[in-house]
């Protein structure tokens, strides 16, 4: 990329961001808006610095829930899609279910999980919720990757008299790896968002959403301090997973 | 340039004078698509542009259509600057992929240029009916493009290009995606349509028989940089029809064009750049 290309790619977003914060700050100043209504960016920043330790603590709680649920979801998603590619019956039962689950606001089952699992003293319901969401994303994508292999490759393998197991290992699985990374990129921010939303449904008094919730009646700069925590967490998940995806893609292109 | 058809009109349909086209100038990806090209197309002529990939034949067509502006030189259509000719809708255009809009019926596709020109609804319907008759698809107007065969789609695209009766038709490998049988059939149809409507045609192709069969003149181009290396007059005498393809004169012209193309290949270093 040329130097002017870099300036264009980084410059315009930077310009937009600075302009946005500037206008926000100016509006708050010009109309003398109380921090209870809308805090200025500068006020948010100082609230964030002031409460840094507390925000960090809640961020780690939510982050841990998201991460554990994320990893479990991947493991189960991959296992299930491997299973369904071998057993067609399972696939035809699970796929319509996965499509339906995608269309419904499945987070509403958090209260049930809370009740089932002593939610008031445990982070487990939240992690299970994250796991469930990630599971479906991974399952749908990896199944697609295992299934959408080139017909030529399959015919070739058949001409080698390869067993289904060998076909899975040599053709289907390598094809599905890219899909897995894509699924991870899609699911990573969802994991954070789900972990966060699950906290709203009650349960243990910890995590970012609890922080936001407790600031409901207070000054909004505290709310925003937690929003910063949530943003950093979500972005981290996204950047790491999309970085992994790109790393894998790059390796495939050069190899 | 040779003067072939009788000069009925003093105004030339197309006049390209010293046109050059350079893409990505000043970067490592610089491509000289056309270098100092002169081309005259007399009114009523059928002229084909033929040459290897990267010879700039499609670029030349786009200069005439004013879809691209030459980096140097001048392009005049019907005696006007190309940009004005585009605004005045002095030409119609057809592409390799029929480019029909899949959300419009065949009739609605033909109607589009008339709609954009602000024609009255009744007049539009009338003209669409005429055009459907012209391309021999009178009862296909209400069909969606995907319900038509490849050849039928291309006929609708030609009808669309001719809907506003432009004096000039620009075609970019319009039959390139058709099978050989359909292709030969469409070529004859095109000749009939052009004879009936007195349309001047500039036709880009890389099929030698197609160029010879259709054209009054075949303009041979070569790559690296794109330029015109030869112009071959095709006089086959009388009306062309399917029998023309069997005549010795036809084969003779094919050989002539092929040799001109080989010669241009020798002189020009093939650069393997796509010509669009």
């Amino acid at each position: 990329m040329t130097a002017s290309g870099v300036v264009k790619r980084v410059g315009s977003p930077l310009l937009f961001g600075v302009a946005f914060l500037g206008v926000w700050e100016l509006i708050v100043m010009a109309f003398d808006i109380a921090p209870f209504t809308l805090p200025a960016p500068s006020a948010i920043w100082s609230a964030f610095i002031e409460r840094f330790d507390q925000v960090l603590e809640e961020t780690l709680v939510t982050g841990k829930n998201a991460l554990i649920g994320f990893l479990l979801g991947i493991v189960f998603g991959v296992l299930m899609s491997l299973l369904t590619v071998r057993f067609v019956g399972v696939e035809s039962l699970l796929t319509p279910l996965a499509v339906a689950v995608n269309a419904i606001p499945i987070v509403v089952i958090v209260p049930i999980l809370n009740n089932m699992l002593f939610g008031t003293t445990s982070q487990v319901p939240r992690r299970l919720m994250v796991m469930l969401i990630v599971f479906f994303v991974v399952f749908i994508n990896v199944s697609k990757g295992l299934r959408q292999v080139s017909a030529t490759h399959l015919e070739l393998m058949r001409s080698y008299a390869a067993t289904p197991w060998e076909i899975l290992l040599k053709v289907r699985a390598p094809n599905a790896v890219g899909y897995l990374f894509t699924a991870m990129r899609i699911a990573a921010p969802l994991a954070v968002i789900t972990a966060f939303v699950a906290e709203y449904f009650g349960g243990v008094q910890s995590g970012l959403a609890t922080g936001v919730r407790n600031s409901l009646n207070g000054s909004k700069d505290v709310t925003w301090a937690y929003v910063i925590g949530a943003s950093v967490l979500g972005l981290t998940f996204y950047l790491v997973s999309s970085g992994l995806e790109r790393l894998h893609g790059g390796k495939q292109n050069s190899g | 340039m040779t003067e072939t058809s009788e000069p009925i009109d003093v105004t030339r349909a197309v006049e390209v004078i010293g046109a050059s086209m350079v893409f990505n100038d000043g970067t490592p990806a610089r491509v000289a698509a056309l270098n100092d090209v002169d081309l005259v197309v007399e009114t009523g002529d059928f002229v084909s542009l033929i040459g290897p990939s990267g010879c700039g034949k499609s670029t030349l067509l786009r200069l005439i259509a004013n879809l691209l502006d030459p980096t140097a030189g001048d392009v005049r259509v019907n005696g006007k600057p190309a940009a004005q000719a585009r605004l005045d809708q002095d030409y119609g255009m057809a592409f390799q992929k029929s480019g029909l809009f899949e959300w419009r019926t065949a009739a609605k596709n033909i109607e589009l240029p008339l709609e954009l020109k602000g024609w009255d609804k009744r007049l539009r319907a009338e003209r669409v009916g005429e055009m459907l008759d012209l391309v021999k698809l009178p009862d296909r107007g209400s069909n969606m493009p995907w319900e038509l065969s490849g050849g039928q789609q291309q006929r609708i695209a030609i009808a669309r290009a001719l809907a506003s009766h432009p004096p000039l038709l620009l075609m970019d490998e319009p039959f390139g995606a058709l099978d050989e049988m359909t292709r030969e059939h469409m070529q004859s149809e095109l000749l009939q349509i052009c004879a009936a409507t007195h349309t001047t045609v500039v036709f880009v192709t890389h099929s030698i028989p197609e160029a010879v069969y259709l054209s009054d003149r075949v303009v041979v181009m070569s790559a690296g940089p794109g330029r015109i290396t030869d112009t071959i007059d095709v006089e086959l005498g009388g009306t062309r029809n399917e029998d023309t393809r069997e005549k010795d004169a036809f084969y003779g012209k094919i050989t002539e064009v092929r040799e001109a193309l080989r010669g241009s290949e020798m002189t020009g270093e093939a650069r393997g750049i796509e010509d669009r």
């Binding site: 315009s12 977003p13 961001g17 209504t37 809308l38 039962l93 699970l94 319509p96 279910l97 339906a100 995608n102 269309a103 419904i104 606001p105 987070v107 509403v108 209260p111 049930i112 009740n115 089932m116 699992l117 002593f118 445990s122 487990v124 954070v192 966060f196 939303v197 449904f201 009650g202 970012l208 959403a209 936001v212 919730r213 409901l216 909004k220 709310t223 949530a230 943003s231 967490l233 979500g234 972005l235 998940f237 996204y238 | 259509a65 879809l67 585009r86 030409y91 119609g92 255009m93 992929k97 480019g99 809009f101 899949e102 959300w103 419009r104 019926t105 589009l112 240029p113 969606m144 995907w146």
Partner: protein
């Protein structure tokens, strides 16, 4: 072609029902053999309790719809939930409409001006990686200051969630018009807006539909989560929380509320699918 589609939909529905049936059987089997008070694995409390209070029988869940609802006089659960659902659905619609207006507007703006696309798109992507619902308290305060009715908070947050898939899919659609189509419009000397209306939008439709599907689901989620976060909005989301707090008296009510929420999501999704088959009715199957 119609028949084929209907057949496939029917088959899918049958399979879905079969899957749900199997899940119900698994539920009852676990309830019969699982520990009443749950249990631990490796110190994690992940063995669910099976007593009637948290795992009612499947038939209890359905019977619940006909029982009087807690805290609603002698009104039955189904009619209370119907009222809640209607409330939530309206807010979701408002949110989806707002999200669609913003989403399509932004896409057009970005398609028109490269600088806006370059400057804004990264932020839109970032905005989807963070729980925007965290802004609920902020949104509700501003709503209060502007004197807007309470439901507009939920609609705004639903719009926050639903605009993005619409923006991205619309932008992609507007930008993936075949080059020949654009050249054709150029050859007609048609302006940008004419090209937008006559070519870019129609050819973007197949791209926009998946975006709207995601957005429809997102709008329901946005409203439900807002109800849970803010309180005061008595919709389906509120019902799940409310009933789960009164779980001792009527445990199956929570499940009834969850079914209602699921139905809402499916209804919204179904509406988009219906409008898809209407909009795409004349297009070839290959283009979809």
């Amino acid at each position: 072609m119609r028949v084929g589609l209907a057949e496939r939909a029917l088959r899918r529905t049958a399979l879905l029902l079969a899957a749900l049936g199997l899940a119900a059987v698994a539920w009852e089997v676990y309830k019969a053999i699982g520990p009443e008070q749950g249990g631990d694995i490796f110190g994690w409390r992940i063995i669910p309790k099976t007593n009637d209070r948290v795992m009612p029988h499947v038939w209890e869940m359905f019977a619940e719809f006909g029982r009087p609802a807690i805290g609603s006089g002698d009104q039955q659960v189904w009619s209370v939930l119907l009222g809640y659902s209607w409330f939530t659905l309206r807010m979701a619609f408002a949110g989806l409409a707002l999200g669609a207006a913003i989403g399509v507007g932004l896409a057009v703006l970005m398609a028109r001006l490269r600088i806006v696309e370059r400057g804004l798109l990264p932020y839109l992507v970032i905005s989807q990686t963070i729980p925007l619902i965290a802004l609920a308290p902020q949104v509700t305060v501003i709503r209060g200051t502007l004197g807007l009715p309470q439901w507009t908070s939920a609609a705004t947050l639903a719009a926050f969630l639903s605009f993005f898939p619409i923006t991205v899919s619309t932008l992609r659609g507007l930008q993936s018009v075949p080059k020949a189509s654009l050249e054709l419009m150029d050859s007609y000397a048609a302006g940008w807006w004419t090209t937008l209306v006559k070519v870019r939008f129609p050819s973007a439709v197949p791209y926009m539909i998946p975006g709207f599907k995601l957005a429809a689901t997102a709008s329901v989620i946005g409203v439900i989560v807002t109800e849970i976060t803010l309180g005061g909005l008595r919709g389906v989301g509120f019902a799940t929380i409310d009933y789960s707090q009164k779980v001792t008296s009527q445990p199956a009510s929570v499940y009834a509320a969850v079914f209602a929420a699921a139905a809402l999501g499916l209804i919204m999704f179904g509406l988009v699918v219906l409008s898809e088959s209407f909009v795409m009715r004349k297009r070839s199957r290959e283009t979809t």
